[in-house]
Symmetry: none
Subunit: 208 residues, 4 copies
DNA sequence: GATGAATGAGAGTTCATTCAT
DNA sequence: TATGAATGAACTCTCATTCAT
């Protein structure tokens, strides 16, 4: 009986997490389509197929939804960076892999939201108040990029006269989602082409 | 009397335009501080020192304020590009001048707003509905950059194997306001340094 | 087996009533602390240590909780009046005993809730709809007080020219919980003092 | 022109104050009928004949409406006390006048609201947060009553062995609106009778 | 019987926009 | 022309109540 109840518990818990993930996914979509302010909790709930109040059982407010999305995505990026670190040998190939993951891979849609959140002025205030951990996550991402760049410098791959912080920052803003979208819309390129070319510019730009 | 009335007219008209410019300037400031949605028409009006209704005599809605700001800034950029075209000789130095104008010069604050507007999802819808002319302006900017890049290619300065559209898009997203701000906040750099280094990466990246 | 099941039944029933009493007691506390509207069913349930739904197995709604509390307290008052009737000899000493019971005794906290419920406008509607029996109980209390006053009149203790109904009503509103609390907070008096003095004013006021 | 504009101003201001008073009056009515929590801002607004938003131009929130009502009524009571002080000679007749004003006069309906507000547990918290000035006003009322009672004591009218604070508190809770209503509903008395009789009990109770 | 996740009506509040003055 | 009081749609969030497990 104890075992059965435990199974039951974990089933409930699993369903709960699945739903929570579903809410996040839907919220992400709607935020991307309509923007944060033009998205109502009603819209999110009805798209998920649940009642408005149910969303509040998972997230205490609209703010927290964005923050949760941001956090989840950052974690995913960090995870992916670990994967890249293992699969690739040189710092450059690791960074290239990251670039593809974020802009050409399955993550590209999320990158858009991340970027639009990260750039809008109103979200900044929100993060200042509630998203203390996000800063940490973001810094961790930036740090890993910086580490890779430093490694590359030491190996003599990258130009040691360029400040690492500026290289990092340039890397992280290499592709703005909008320009990217525009290029895709033109129809001359597939995602991988764009990322490859952009990466080429960057790595030639920083090479020793 | 006809002359007097005409003078009167033109005086009124001048005052009107001055006020319109003032509203735009103030709106720009507040949008940057608070973000679009967290800025109320009341706040803008009271900062300008006029009544809320008066703002509506100049701009039909809050949306149109953003669009007008965007448009004004784009015109300014286009004007500045013409200046650069005249003052500088090589395509690269022209593009460098543009980079400095937008990120290190007086225009850098506006660039921030432009960028945050351009990236946020809710503004996209707005532009789709109302800002048909903005697309044209933006395309004109992109075209001039592309022209300069093509010129550079023809002169043998830039790598002809890189697609111009990708070079253009990379150029236009070189500096995201947030990374830029972050770098400045660190205190290791002055604006000019950042832009110079970033430009260096870009131009080495695209050189023949 | 019939006997065993009966025992089982009555045990269950006893537990049920104990829990019902516990719910009432907790609800009373919370209503006093937070007020009716600022108290959620969740709070009550979690303070009792049961699930929200379980409260609804005992009381059909939040309203009914208040009514049940009111009813229970009225019954308690009626019971106490019977006790007073037996223990004391003169009508005055009986009324004095009642006064102490309600304001200085263990019942004083309940008197507060009773009073705040009785006076608030929203509870009136509730009573009008659901609490038909409460009127009866309240009237019975008032009647007994009136009886004691009439007895006193007949004995020549109380002024026969004062209408009994007005004496009754004055007696019942002698101490409002707030004034009472205020006096206690001042620190000059203990509950018994306050009640004694107030009683003195009343009984001198009505004496023949 | 200055004069005309001034007149215009004062007209506007007068209209504004009239409307504000109307809102207060209507809110008072509705709060009395439905209670604070069961009254919606919509209901108040629509009864006044204005839009919901307009109410917020006069009062920053629902809370503030109650507080404003309370404050207004307290001021009115204080004003009336001054009138009584002038018109009547003895402390007792002054207190009697006050009693009639609050329970038998035009103010009796307001006394009900005042009382129901004053006694409900949720309003207490509200006052603790926002209504700091109300405490002051209430204390001033209590003080004046206490003064009159002290005067009476000095003149040898009232019993000097009774603590003034208890006499004050008894005076202020002499008539609870509910008992009062009940007595009226019975149909045996007119308001003046009730107040007269109740006063009689009180003053005989405290006489020297 | 007991649970607590799900519901959804309804609350207070904001603010872009209008229009009588 | 300039004003700012008035509007009311739309928002986020709460919580009494229900019901499948």
């Amino acid at each position: 009986m104890s075992s059965s109840s435990q199974v039951h518990r974990s089933l409930k818990e699993k369903q709960r997490q699945e739903r929570e993930a579903l809410i996040l996914k839907v919220a992400e979509d709607v935020f991307l389509e309509r923007g944060y302010h033009d998205t109502s909790m009603d819209e999110i709930a009805s798209r998920v197929g649940i009642a408005k109040g149910t969303v509040y059982l998972h997230f205490p407010g609209k703010d927290d939804l964005v923050i949760a999305i941001f956090e989840r995505d950052m974690q995913e990026i960090l995870r992916q960076m670990d994967v890249s670190l293992d699969c690739q040998s040189s710092p450059q190939s690791k960074l290239e892999a990251l670039l593809h993951f974020m802009y050409a891979g399955l993550f590209s849609k999320r990158t858009q939201l991340l970027s639009s959140i990260y750039h809008s002025a109103d979200m900044q205030r929100l993060f200042a108040e509630k998203g203390s951990c996000l800063r940490v996550l973001w810094d961790r991402v930036a740090q890993r990029v910086a580490q890779l760049l430093d490694e590359g410098k030491e190996r003599g791959d990258f130009d040691p006269t360029l400040p690492t912080s500026i290289m990092t920052s340039t890397f992280l803003s290499l592709l703005s989602p909008k320009s990217y979208e525009r290029l895709l819309a033109d129809g001359h390129f597939v995602p991988d082409d764009i990322v490859t070319h952009t990466g080429k510019i960057f790595f030639r730009g920083i090479q020793a």
